[in-house]
């Protein structure tokens, strides 16, 4: 997904020769996560979600608060307060030293997640930025992306303020200081409108140094609008160069370099052969050795991989590859060997291999220590079930392991679809799950086994619109003891014109032996249509 997006953007920029893209305003989404450090700490410590928490750092001989949780903010704590004062304000609060490394790791993980929207995503002290230029239309516009991210992050329990603006500076300022930022702000794109929009924000929104801010406060310049009204020359005398730079960056007069997070590079192990390698034993040994090396490398990096590529180059220079997927990322050697058990047989060495390699993709950080120790029985068992599915998929082929997913339709044969497990996992969303059937659904009988396609039968009914008293299927006759119905299922309105499907009257019948069948009559006798009978399924 990310790769294709990247390719697409690369292709469009080369095709349009730059000029067109340059004229288009940039779309930068900034996400401000003010409570992320405290939320992280609360979750890691297992405290109740509404615990008042303050994170402090030691500066100028005192511990001063840097971040406060939402409940702590309501209790009257604010960043900059000393911890001693804070303790008197809020007795029940927890105080903890700030851990910038862990917060940064958390933000980086979020930025990696945001790469689903755009290849250019990055972090700063307490927020994320996404350059949506040229990528937002794939998701229905930057408004849609913004709404989607806000929904997903608030579902995850994170409070986020966000803003879309043509420059990074403006997006930052709006997300931090605009009143409507928690529900998402969208700044105007035109420069004149933008400067009007920004003028009501406080000067702190310019990302100034403390000295510059103090000077502005002394001179009574409190709003950004006050600065816009002044001449540049007058400002440059009193204030540092950084101040003017920030003002220019705010309106986009000076470009601001941004460093996006990088995609994790796949882990790669390779072996070159002096003599051409051939023969099943040699190949098996080669795969095992490579996997052992790869697993070792992943263990050292504390990472787990989602899928693997075994590649080889033959002596004539031709290359081929095999792919193996895991539904739960792993770096365990025993599992990898079991997964790739048939790889050696699948390798067509011809005259021998000159080189072979394995790459691990879809890397994520390794699982928690409780899962490693096997103390979490449920996780361990679920992991084993997932490993089984991977092995079955590797053995029989990925399309052989399937799941039933629901489809919106009234026709019995179209109400469900079998998809491969990989698709079902990748697109895992609530609409793929089966809801508990409603009482009305329970009243409409459905068989446990369906024939696809339905088998034509002959039926003897006393009247054209009656249930049959006798059915004949492939030269065998069955007397009908009991019947109930009909249940009429019509074709969808867009199928009516094609005349391929007609209305069906379904009956549930019981034969003399007790077998219960689901049969239907296609074509409505009251409309004078020709009717035909079909057997569609077997009841329990």
């Amino acid at each position: 997904m990310n790769v294709s997006l990247h390719d697409r953007i690369g292709a469009s920029s080369s095709a349009h020769a730059g000029a067109k893209l340059a004229s288009k305003a940039r779309e930068i989404l900034y996400l401000f996560l003010p409570f992320l450090p405290t939320t992280r700490l609360i979750r890691q410590q297992g405290w109740p979600a509404d615990t008042p928490v303050g994170l402090y750092h030691h500066a100028q001989q005192t511990d001063r608060l840097l971040f406060v949780s939402q409940t702590a903010q309501r209790a009257g704590l604010y960043p900059g307060l000393s911890v001693a004062d804070a303790r008197t304000h809020c007795v029940s609060a927890q105080f903890h030293a700030v851990e910038p490394d862990k917060d940064r790791a958390c933000l980086l993980a979020l930025a990696q997640w945001c790469r689903r929207y755009t290849p250019l995503a990055g972090i700063d002290e307490c927020g994320l930025w996404l350059d949506l230029t040229g990528a937002s239309h794939l998701f229905g516009g930057y408004e849609a992306v913004q709404t989607d991210i806000i929904t997903k992050l608030s579902d995850a329990g994170l409070d986020v303020s966000s803003a879309v603006a043509p420059t990074y500076g403006a997006a930052w300022a709006l997300a931090h200081y605009h009143d409507a930022a928690p529900s998402g702000v969208i700044a105007p794109i035109r420069r004149a409108a933008l400067s009007d929009y920004l003028s009501s924000l406080p000067v702190a929104a310019l990302r100034l140094s403390a000295a510059d801010e103090a000077i502005l406060m002394q001179t009574g310049l409190r709003k950004i609008g006050d600065i816009f009204a002044l001449r540049r020359a007058a400002l440059s005398v009193r204030l540092t160069a950084n101040f003017l730079l920030r003002v220019d960056q705010l309106l986009g007069d000076v470009a601001e370099p941004l460093q996006p997070v990088k995609e994790r590079q796949p882990v790669y192990v390779a072996q070159h052969w002096a003599e051409p390698l051939a023969g099943l034993e040699g190949l098996t040994q080669m795969v095992t050795d490579l996997l052992a090396e790869l697993s070792d490398k992943l263990m050292k990096k504390e990472q787990v991989a989602r899928w693997f590529e075994i590649g080889w180059q033959r002596v004539d220079g031709s290359c081929a590859r095999l792919h193996y997927h895991l539904s739960r990322p792993s770096n365990e050697l025993a599992l990898l060997i079991r997964l790739c058990a048939d790889a050696a047989e699948k390798i067509d060495a011809e005259f021998g291999l000159s080189c072979s390699w394995i790459q691990a993709y879809g890397l994520t950080d390794a699982v928690s220590i409780t899962a490693l120790l096997g103390t979490d029985t449920q996780t361990a068992q679920a992991e084993k079930a997932d490993q089984l599915l991977d092995i079955l998929a590797a053995k029989l082929g990925p399309d052989r392991v399937q799941r039933l997913v629901p489809q919106e339709s009234w026709q019995a044969e179209q109400r469900e679809r079998r998809t491969t497990l990989a698709q079902a996992i990748d697109k895992h969303s609530p609409h793929l799950d089966w809801q508990v059937p409603s009482p009305a659904q329970m009243l409409a009988p459905r068989p446990v086994r369906l024939l696809d396609p339905p088998e034509p039968i002959q039926a003897v009914a006393l009247l054209p619109d009656n249930p049959p008293v006798m059915v004949r299927w492939r030269q065998h006759s069955w007397q009908v003891r009991r019947a109930t119905g009909p249940e009429r299922i019509g074709p969808s309105w867009w199928q009516i014109d094609t005349h391929k499907t007609r209305s069906r009257d379904y009956y549930r019948i019981e034969t003399n032996e007790g077998a219960r069948l689901w049969i239907y009559r296609e074509g409505l006798p009251e409309r004078g249509e020709d009717s035909a009978w079909y057997l569609h399924g077997f009841f329990a």
């Binding site: 029985t377 079930a385 799941r403 469900e416 003891r481 019947a483 109930t484 077997f538 329990a540």
Partner: protein
């Protein structure tokens, strides 16, 4: 020497071996707890049984169907009089499937978040393939079922065996089809599945045509129960809930039993079927054939909506 022995006595616990805050022993304690849990689970796995709700079966099986065992559920053999190519097998296969699904529902109620593996040929021919709506009416969430569709019977059954070795599954079901015709392969495979099921403690169920039951834990013959036509049964309120003539014809550590049962999807239980002792009436089909006027008077026989 004596002091060394007293130090080694089991009652003496050195202080430093007790779990302490922030120490690795905490993890060790967790590990022990988990191992204990696993051991009890393993012990229970040997004795845990799935009750069939029917006293006749439960007493014949010594408490119910054993976990960690493979149970063979097949349809009743074709009666002598019927031609060999009769379609009866596929007609009553729905009943066999229904019985297996009912058992499956009972297992899934015990393990609500574990998946079930169902190994079957991709295109089941005239027996049809499982339908999600039908599963839901038995009371099973189709999302919990994972299908392994392999047309080669030997490969399909090796997938069954592989799945049976794995713990963390609720149950494994296999449709063996014609594999049982090859008797040597069948026997060997029965032994292997038995060992696989013991290893994991997962319950295995096989369904298909009548097959040699030697080597499996239990053997069942299922046929749909045809209630005799009587006034109550042809009236509007006919009970369409699945009902079967279930016969436990082989139990390794038990005795055979037979009972007519029905399945109640609301409670998820088998119920013994009360045989109606009402006066039998003439089959409506015959009457209807006599005259149309007669048919009109018999109309309530059909529950026409």
């Amino acid at each position: 020497m004596e002091s060394a022995i007293t130090q080694m006595s089991p009652h003496h616990i050195p202080q430093d071996s007790l779990p302490q805050e922030g120490d690795k022993t905490i993890y060790r304690k967790d590990r022990f707890a988990a191992l204990k849990h696993r051991i009890t689970a393993a012990e229970q796995g040997q004795t845990a049984r799935l009750s069939c709700d029917i006293p006749a079966f439960d007493s014949a099986l010594g408490g119910g169907l054993g976990f960690g065992r493979v149970h063979l559920v097949s349809r009743t053999a074709i009666p002598q009089g019927k031609p060999a190519d009769s379609l009866l097998p596929s007609m009553i296969n729905g009943a066999v499937t229904g019985f297996v699904l009912a058992l499956l529902r009972k297992v899934m109620m015990l393990y609500p978040d574990r998946p079930v593996i169902w190994c079957a040929p991709p295109h089941a021919g005239m027996t049809g393939s499982l339908s999600a709506e039908g599963l839901r009416q038995i009371g099973i969430n189709p999302a919990q079922l994972i299908f392994v569709h392999e047309s080669h019977p030997a490969r399909c059954m090796s997938a069954f065996e592989e799945a049976l070795q794995t713990d963390g599954l609720a149950a494994v079901v296999g449709e063996y089809g014609m594999l049982s015709r090859q008797s040597d392969l069948w026997q060997r495979w029965a032994r292997r599945t038995r060992r696989a099921a013991r290893m994991s403690g997962t319950i295995g169920m096989l369904l298909g045509p009548p097959a040699p039951v030697c080597g499996f834990e239990t053997g069942w013959h299922i046929s749909p129960y045809a209630a005799p036509l009587c006034a109550a049964s042809v009236a509007d309120g006919y009970d369409w809930r699945p009902s079967w003539q279930a016969s436990l014809h082989y139990a390794k550590a038990g005795r055979p039993a037979s009972e007519t049962i029905k399945w109640d999807w609301v409670s998820g239980r088998f119920l013994p079927l009360e045989k109606s002792v009402d006066r039998p009436v003439q089959p409506p089909a015959d009457q209807l054939l006599n005259s149309r006027a007669n048919w009109l008077s018999q109309q309530p026989a059909y529950n026409i909506r």
